[in-house]
Symmetry: C2
Subunit: 584 residues, 2 copies
Amino acid sequence: MEGNQSNVAAASPNGVSSVPAGQELAMQTLSYSSQPPSPNTPSTPHQQSRNSIRLLSGILAVNILLLGSALVCGAAFSKVKVLSDEEIHIYLTILLILTTAWMIFYMVHTASRTQAVLYKDSHAGPIWLRGGLVLFGVASLIMDVFKTGYSTGKLNCESPVKVTFPLVQLVFVVVQTYFLWVHSKDCVQKQSNITGCGLMLTLATNLMLWMSAVTDESLHQTREEASKPNGSFDHLRDGSMFFKAGRSGCECTHGACEIFEKGFYYLYPFNIEYSLFASAMTYVMWKNIGREIDDCSPHKISFRTKGVVFGVIVGLLVVIAGLGVFVVYEVEVTGDASTERVLIMYYTFCIVGLSLMSLASLAGSVIYRFDKRTVVSTKNPTRSLDVALLLGAALGQFLISYFSIVAIVAEKATRTVSMLNLTCSCLIILQLCLQNLFIIEGLHKQPYHAEPPVVSVVFINEGTSRSNPYSPSLKNDNDEPSPVENSLERSSHSHDFSSTTHSSSSRMSWKRRALKEISGFLLLCNVIFWIIPAFGARPQFENGLEEWVYGFSMWVAIVNIGLPFGIFYRMHSVASLFEVYLTS
Amino acid sequence: MEGNQSNVAAASPNGVSSVPAGQELAMQTLSYSSQPPSPNTPSTPHQQSRNSIRLLSGILAVNILLLGSALVCGAAFSKVKVLSDEEIHIYLTILLILTTAWMIFYMVHTASRTQAVLYKDSHAGPIWLRGGLVLFGVASLIMDVFKTGYSTGKLNCESPVKVTFPLVQLVFVVVQTYFLWVHSKDCVQKQSNITGCGLMLTLATNLMLWMSAVTDESLHQTREEASKPNGSFDHLRDGSMFFKAGRSGCECTHGACEIFEKGFYYLYPFNIEYSLFASAMTYVMWKNIGREIDDCSPHKISFRTKGVVFGVIVGLLVVIAGLGVFVVYEVEVTGDASTERVLIMYYTFCIVGLSLMSLASLAGSVIYRFDKRTVVSTKNPTRSLDVALLLGAALGQFLISYFSIVAIVAEKATRTVSMLNLTCSCLIILQLCLQNLFIIEGLHKQPYHAEPPVVSVVFINEGTSRSNPYSPSLKNDNDEPSPVENSLERSSHSHDFSSTTHSSSSRMSWKRRALKEISGFLLLCNVIFWIIPAFGARPQFENGLEEWVYGFSMWVAIVNIGLPFGIFYRMHSVASLFEVYLTS
């Protein structure tokens, strides 16, 4: 849905842009570029201040993060008990209080002045990101309540910081979710110095929360594994870098402690996801500081499923099969005897699903090769960011897959489960690469509706760029080229364009339909591949081989870092595929 | 020296640019932007292919790197001997052979066709980077010879891959150094698909070499530490993640083995630095694929030291003091009794030097506040990359400093050495932040020589933008604004400009001199802070506190990752400060 309006700039036919169109493009690129010397305003001081804000706030964030990393590493990896969780919790509490105070200040300040935010970026903070934020925010709130309950029970023997921290985090999550819901589209112009530092503080706080949650979760899992009565990894236990000297012997004063503990460890992944979502949104807000854009609400493209049957049906079949596998997995995986059977079922489902998805993505990319639609060439920071997030989030899955492949190949494992795991890991890499290529190509294509055959008539009859509905809306009319020059330039291309449109109109329909089928199918498949890990399936730990090769603590760290990014990737690709579906 | 010519675009007086100047700027921004839809050529296919090259080659590099990381981690961290060095060496050898083959193919192909490379980026591959590459390349060659000698002696009991690898690396270093020396400025247009993948392969290979060298070096140091007869970290030994079961009992067949081993471990840091340099240069080449730029050789700004006395003298004093400290450090640090005395001397020198540097940078930034020179606002990818490399490389020092600070504060250490170390670490962070601000502000300022008082006369008398020596050189003259409009716009600003020039001409001289003094002083100081770590001083390990807090293996990893970036940072900042010196 996002990104359609601003991308209509390059709608000039056949990719050959005339000189005046080039000038228009130039002006629009400037208004989008990160350093916009707009022609009528004194650009240099504005841009200078924008650069220095970026630099200062960036340095601030780096310092917060590195100090935090040293604290987390010191507490988690150190054998000597010099640093404890307490220092980290104090540090995080201070960060949370500062960030919450700044967000409240920002909201009050923005509400009190009518002219505080002049521009809004309609592509920032799309609904799936905000919806996900609220969803994971609610889970984080419950986690904080559980944590507070658990820590209250241990108040007699543990530091009061452990009770304060979840309470402060609770307030922070509420304030931040509201803040990002309301303000994620802001392009701040006033007081941008404070705002830049505030946003970087928020970003650093979220990344610190992410880092500490990943470490906590990994520590907890390693402890659980080590405390198993007949765990198969006893030999690894004393060497593990995460392993601490076990529980402290601090007893809980109320009975609900165990429930609270189980509850909040179950909710940890949602909290990790929440931090990632908030980081992404804060980063986009920070990038938008000082940006001056014409806010046009995106084109309303009607969502129709008419005619798209095959892709949706196959996709729904995959979803239903996946849900079945997920339920069986969750029910049976605890039993020792049935684990192998369940894993074989799980991997088989993955292999079938991923193969279909890879083939679909490949077919989509092939169709794009024959697709004559122009590529949107205007610079759009939100779109570039979208692509970067998609590629970056895929790294998480890549990481896990490559470590699995190396472990299985090195071990020369020949069990059925291992071979299936190997095939599955290879397919994940292949599928992610192909799907990324398909999505990125799709996002950069001109929407189909922008090329009706009447365009060539409009081009010839109307001289000025204003009356051409496919030219970008410009803020200044000063440098409009002469109508004569314009129509001359355009008429020279109009023949090519109309011929292309007419000759391809008959084939266009099957191409469009195929693209819609493919994106619909991929969308549904990504939903099920999101649901399975998001709601707790962790075949990476049931398999046992990677744990043995890398050591439990290291494998836990890899999975806990990689998997949340993988979940983020699936959600993001669902949103992107929806956009591809609409524009096809 | 670099970056002067292209930055003259925003020389419009007082930062208020007229509309025609805005148009020129727009065109220039486009020619510099990463997605240039240049007005007279069919832009879309060109840009589309450029984007897809980036995407494909980026995915290739990510896959090579992740597979390599899994191999390195598996071999280094795993307790179980499933993966060994052999697999990594085979993988690296394959990568080296492929990369060497591609580089030879590229050079032959470029030499055989006259039109193979049409554009050159004069800012890419500056002399300090190429010089550093050759310097570290020579050290790497010697290291490879030593390694081959060492491995030949152990051929009876170790894999032949260990002899093949250094020999292949030797050929690779020779070919790559020549390749980057000759071709680092190329903006490839033809066969850019293969070139993109080839360059990403080269980048990935260099990063893999860096990763494997850092791991090797860390493993070696941990082994050395563990094998010390009365090492003070015995209690850490068995838990260390790098620690392997000691030497394999494989005896060397010739007598020079020990010399070879000592030699190549001494040369490791140079090889690590070589990989970083090559990576930076390859990355710039990759970014330049498909870029079409007017190649203008940079302005010859004469290098004069006349009048700059104070900064240079103080700088030289710091250099001489530093060399003295370095020699004493290297001679005395082996003795156990004198270590503390030497460390106190070393830290005192650092504190004095860094304080002076921080004050100088601060003074420079304050002078910039009063400096009315316009900021260069055109988009220049090489300049942005320069700044990114400067900020990124500083992270290495930040990392080490923050880990030191946390260790000392957590341990509540009160020894003189610890307090000095704490002060020194804090000062490093402060100094790097201030120096980065100073350098980046300096790099973005218009060179002083670009604003002679005659400019206003030129502006009024000559109408067209071609004859204005401060307007950017454009490739197309089609959209030149009308002379009348131009002179009107310009004359309205000429008064402001000439008045500024005249009123500030008397004060300009002390500002310029102060900036030259400061950049000269900082340059010399950075040279000595480069020499000390580059030639082997490692006070981070003599101190002992951080090792105790984080564990030896972890601290070794942090220092081995952070320090090469720190050394790269100092070299890069020397080059940047030289540029600031010239343009002030």
